[in-house]
């Protein structure tokens, strides 16, 4: 669809756009962010510093950015998709050379006042590019091999760069997020069946390669997998994190131990309690009820996004919305699976709740795109 086609339909303009924002999503995002503020206050031992205050500032900034992005017509973003993707690829390449290294992986660019994690950006720009691609591609060519090969390349380029940082978690999210858009766009089942089969083969290969000269993963990643399979075999070393996380979560019980009463987090038994493992603190202090409440908020956000997407006749907007929603879903579900011991510890933060610099801004900008798609829905 072109700009002129949009003009043919009714599209809100000016301040009227505010009315057409996807308000339930805004409210839900704020609610999740508030849960995050409360938990950051708690894990700091009842203090706004060092985590809650910067997080609130960042959230406020992110909301402003989201609204700004939402006000810009969706076709502008479609036109920007290729450029945005190229920029993020460039940034990922830059990380390879001038990135800041922490904990053995090089993921960050030092931008003065804050650090930027280009892989965060890549998750969104990849979704934008693929959505624009399938909007441009005639529907009858969707499943032709050559037109399938192209988006696969789009996915693999940032995936490879992220994997080399190394950041296994984000690489998997890129793969799965990209794959989801191809699925939404209508690529034939057979491709997915093939990829899944291949994926299983790769997993087998990964395990087979262990200890050989062509070892595919780093040692620490293998150890994490070992620990995942049986955390008890190294309770004080690699398994300590997940063991303590499970103790924290499980000891919460029905209603939790009370705000700021979680012994596991307060006494530092929990690792990374303000970032990747913040959900365990929440589950420890607010129990099953609190955990389910947060999970419900996440599920509702996905629900409203999917509703927005399936009612949107603009193909780019629909694919974009679904892609971002799926990425969001992958974020929180992988994190929760990780801290409940259902998935290996891959280092994925809990979206909007974990303390994190660029992650929250990028996420809110992405939801700005979702809002833009919603606002400029052809009616």
């Amino acid at each position: 669809m072109s700009y002129l086609e949009y003009q043919a339909k009714y599209v809100p303009t000016g301040f009227r756009k505010l009315i057409y924002l996807n308000w339930p999503v805004i409210v839900l995002l704020s609610a999740v962010a508030c849960a995050g503020f409360i938990m950051l206050y708690s894990v700091a031992g009842g203090s706004a510093t060092p985590w809650m205050e910067p997080q609130i500032r960042r959230f406020a900034l992110g909301m402003v950015l989201m609204l700004v992005v939402a006000m810009v017509p969706i076709w502008f973003w479609r036109n920007m998709a290729v450029l945005a993707f190229l920029v993020s690829i460039l940034l990922l390449v830059a990380v390879e050379f001038v990135g800041v290294e922490r904990n053995g992986s090089r993921r960050w660019l030092d931008l003065g006042p804050m650090d930027l994690q280009p892989s965060e950006l890549a998750k969104i720009t990849l979704v934008m590019l693929l959505a624009a691609y399938y909007d441009w591609l005639p529907a009858n060519k969707t499943s032709r091999p050559i037109w399938v090969f192209l988006p696969v390349c789009f996915i693999l380029i940032p995936t490879y760069l992220v994997l080399s940082q190394p950041d296994l978690g984000t690489a998997l999210l890129l793969l799965m997020g990209g794959g989801a858009i191809m699925f939404f766009a209508g690529v034939h089942w057979a491709y997915f069946a093939t990829v899944i089969t291949a994926g299983i083969s790769v997993i087998v290969a990964v395990f087979q390669s262990r200890g050989t000269t062509w070892q595919l993963l780093k040692d620490y990643q293998y150890r994490r997998i070992d620990t995942f399979i049986d955390p008890a075999n190294d309770p004080l070393g690699a398994g300590y994190h997940i063991t303590q996380a499970k103790i924290a979560l499980g000891s919460g019980g029905w209603t939790g131990r009370g705000f700021m009463q979680g012994t596991q987090s307060r006494l530092n038994f929990l690792p990374e309690k303000h970032t990747d493992f913040i959900f365990t603190t929440l589950a420890e202090e607010f129990g099953f009820v609190g955990g389910i409440a947060l999970l419900s908020l996440y599920v509702l956000i996905i629900f409203f996004c999917v509703v927005s997407a399936v009612t949107n006749r603009d193909r780019f907007a629909a694919l974009l919305t679904l892609g971002i929603a799926t990425t969001f879903f992958l974020f929180f579900s992988v994190n929760m699976a990780m801290v409940t011991g259902l998935a290996p510890v891959v280092g994925v933060p809990l979206p909007l709740v974990s303390y994190g610099g660029s992650a929250m801004l990028v996420l809110l900008v992405a939801f700005g795109l979702v809002q833009s798609a919603h606002v400029h829905k052809p009616r």
Binding site: P138, A139, N140, T142, A180, F183, F184, A185, G186, Q244, K246, I247, A248, L249, G250, S251, G252, G253, W254, T263, Q264, L267, N268, F269, A283, G287, F288, G291, I292, L295, Y298, V299, I302, F303, V306, A309, V310, R313, R315, A318, L319, L322, T326, F329, S333, M336, A337, T340, G341, L342
Partner: protein
């Protein structure tokens, strides 16, 4: 470009279908997460809660204060001393080396201790307090507190440590405590968790060891919350332990100290029994050792010194040492004979200076013999031949029976490390233990307390006490535990003929009051304080006929370990006796010269509860005694010192 409408509609429908499909899958995954949370937080919540509690809660033991040990007058014999130590927390100290340098300028600390502490600090977490030095003087602690601002991370702490204010004087009775060792743990069947505390002090010998259970008390606990690094966050709750029970001994600290001082230079054992209730007023063994050396663990040098000393300072000779009782055993032989009716008191026996029995010649100590001698004179002059004769008449079994009745050859039940049983031999014993038949010569030897007969100073004192009272006097060392008075040691009548006992006591009185008595020189002249006694000199070697032919070798010409043991038992006053005393001086020579003076001095100290007036001594002795009293006064460890400190 314009796409066909139908194609667009189809792709939109497919998109919606697939969106709903993947949405459902996502909902399924979310459901799985919810189920997982439910199983962990609801079904397994209790297990995880327990694990969380185990994580954060450490249970620490609070050692109870050990019970104190007092003498009969309430003077502390073993007390808990405040032990000041200086500890350092690395993380609070800033520059560790600089702080330690400043500390050593203020307080004198062994550089080795400093090095050891630094090494330990580097090994452990920075917040763990490490002891730099202990047993500091109060002045040092004050200095550290005053200079606290210049000594970050350094604090003075106070703990309790055992201390024996009387030092060596009560060492053998009270014993000592020491850090619990692996050997202790393997030897004793005790589940008390206190024993797992490193360096926890338990009783090793003496009363400290035997009454450990009462003295120790039971542990309190405190539950503390720790964080992941083990840092203590707060104390959750505390359950106070039960302090150990205080024990009062029958010992008279002052008298005990006097006896130890009086025995200075000797290798000897002395026991003083209160005849009213069997209370042991003094149990002295010399030489002694300082039990405080053992409290923290004794040095190899000190240990070697104590262990290789030929006078055996570690042995509690008064209860553990056994010696041939010599002539002090004659009371047993005499009483057995009188009770058995084999001799009447007035009947005389002829003493030519020796007696031939079964082809062996047994000599009397007096070469020329005593001539015709009756019971009274035989005991007073300690004629051996008289007892050779009556023992053959009464037989060894009756003698052994009488010995046991009087407290010899039986183990008296005292809470001390090694209480000797001694030996009152009889025919059955020799058959069972030595697989030999009893011979008449054995009886003759035993009649004068030689041969197989062995007894400890404690047993001899009990014998004197039973003769003096005619009743079963059982020695009592513990007066009260936790304020509860223990049963008196004064028992039933011995069931002996009172006339026989009276005659025996009269003869013993003569020993130390008649001019020809063997202990006449050690008499008491104060009115109403006279004592009755019996000397003994027991051989530790056999005198060969050649030696005898050369004439009796003087004891002082022999090496120390071959000289005779000197013994003396007595009770006083003769009328209404209050104390019985036994003295054994190892290789001291003659009983009348080496043991009897000690017996008299000790008896007088007990009777007067302090230094007796010089008038109690024979005129000729007074000058010497005055000097001796003055010398010992200087040497006695005053019990008052302990009180001042408290």
């Amino acid at each position: 470009m314009k796409k066909p409408q139908r194609d667009t509609e189809e792709s939109t429908r497919r998109l919606s279908r697939r969106a709903l499909l993947l949405g459902s899958v996502q909902l399924g995954i979310a459901g799985t997460l919810a189920w997982r949370m439910q199983s962990m937080q609801v079904e397994q919540a209790d297990q995880f809660r327990l694990l969380a509690e185990e994580n954060r809660i450490n249970i620490n033991l609070i050692p109870p204060a050990r019970g104190l040990i007092f003498d009969r007058n309430g003077l502390a014999l073993a007390e808990n001393e405040q032990n000041y130590r200086v500890v350092m927390v690395r993380e609070a100290a800033g520059d560790v080396q600089e702080t330690l340098d400043r500390l050593t300028q203020i307080v004198d600390i062994d550089p080795d201790d400093i090095a050891r502490a630094v090494e330990e600090m580097n090994r452990r977490s920075p917040f763990v307090p490490v002891t730099i030095a202990d047993r500091l003087a109060w002045e040092d602690v004050a200095q550290i507190n005053i200079n606290a601002p210049a000594l970050p991370g350094i604090t003075a702490e106070v703990g309790l440590s055992r201390h024996y204010p009387w030092g060596a004087d009560v060492a053998h009775v009270v014993g000592y405590v020491g850090p619990v060792s692996d050997y202790d743990l393997s030897r004793i069947d005790d589940q008390d968790p206190l024993l797992q505390i490193p360096k926890f002090q338990i009783g090793k010998t003496g009363v400290e060891n035997k009454l450990e259970h009462a003295l120790r008390g039971s542990a309190g606990t405190k539950r503390i919350e720790v964080n992941a690094l083990g840092r203590v966050m707060r104390e959750l709750d505390r359950q106070e332990g039960i302090p150990g029970q205080d024990i009062q001994l029958t010992l008279d600290g002052r008298l005990q100290s006097y006896v130890q001082a009086r025995l200075d230079g000797e290798s000897a054992g002395v026991v003083v029994i209160d005849l009213e209730n069997g209370d042991l007023r003094a149990i002295a063994s010399a030489p002694a050792f300082d039990p405080n050396l053992f409290v923290r663990g004794i040095s190899v040098k000190n240990w070697t010194e104590l262990n290789e000393n030929i006078y055996r300072p570690l042995a509690a000779k008064a209860v553990q040492g056994t010696y041939p009782p010599g002539s002090t055993f004659k009371m047993v032989t005499a009483l057995a004979a009188l009770e058995g009716g084999v001799i009447s008191p007035d009947e005389t026996v002829y003493c030519p200076g020796y007696t031939n029995v079964a082809g062996t010649r047994f000599h009397c100590w007096k070469r020329g013999g005593h001539g015709n001698i009756n019971f009274h004179e035989s005991l007073k002059q300690s004629c051996d031949c008289y007892y050779y004769e009556v023992s053959q008449r009464i037989g060894i079994d009756k003698m052994a029976e009488m010995a046991r009745k009087l407290g010899l050859g039986i183990r008296h039940d005292l809470p001390l490390s090694a209480v000797a049983q001694g030996l009152a031999p009889d025919k059955a014993w020799k058959r069972d233990v030595r697989s030999e038949e009893w011979r008449i010569g054995d009886t003759v030897n035993a009649s004068i307390g030689q041969g197989y007969v062995l007894s400890s100073p404690l047993q001899l004192a009990v014998m004197a006490a039973r003769i003096a009272t005619g009743r079963v006097v059982t020695p009592r060392l513990v007066k009260s535990i936790d304020g509860i008075e223990q049963p008196s040691g004064l028992g039933e009548s011995l069931g002996l003929n009172e006339n026989n006992l009276r005659r025996l006591r009269q003869s013993m009185t003569a020993v130390s009051n008649h001019r020809r008595g063997t202990a006449y020189r050690s008499r008491i002249v104060a009115d109403g304080m006279e004592m009755a006694g019996k000397t003994g000199t027991s051989q530790v070697r056999r005198i060969t006929p050649e030696e005898r032919a050369r004439g009796v070798t003087r004891n002082s010409d022999l090496p120390w370990e071959r000289r005779d043991h000197a013994l003396f038992v007595n009770f006083a006053p003769v009328e209404n006796p209050r104390f019985a005393v036994a003295v054994v001086v190892e290789h001291g020579g003659g009983g009348s010269s080496a043991a009897a003076p000690i017996g008299r001095d000790v008896t007088l100290q007990a009777l007067y509860d302090g230094d007796p007036p010089l008038e109690a001594y024979p005129t000729a002795d007074r000058g010497r005694i005055a000097e001796q009293q003055e010398r010992i006064r200087q040497r006695i460890i005053p019990g008052g010192r302990a009180q001042d400190r408290a």
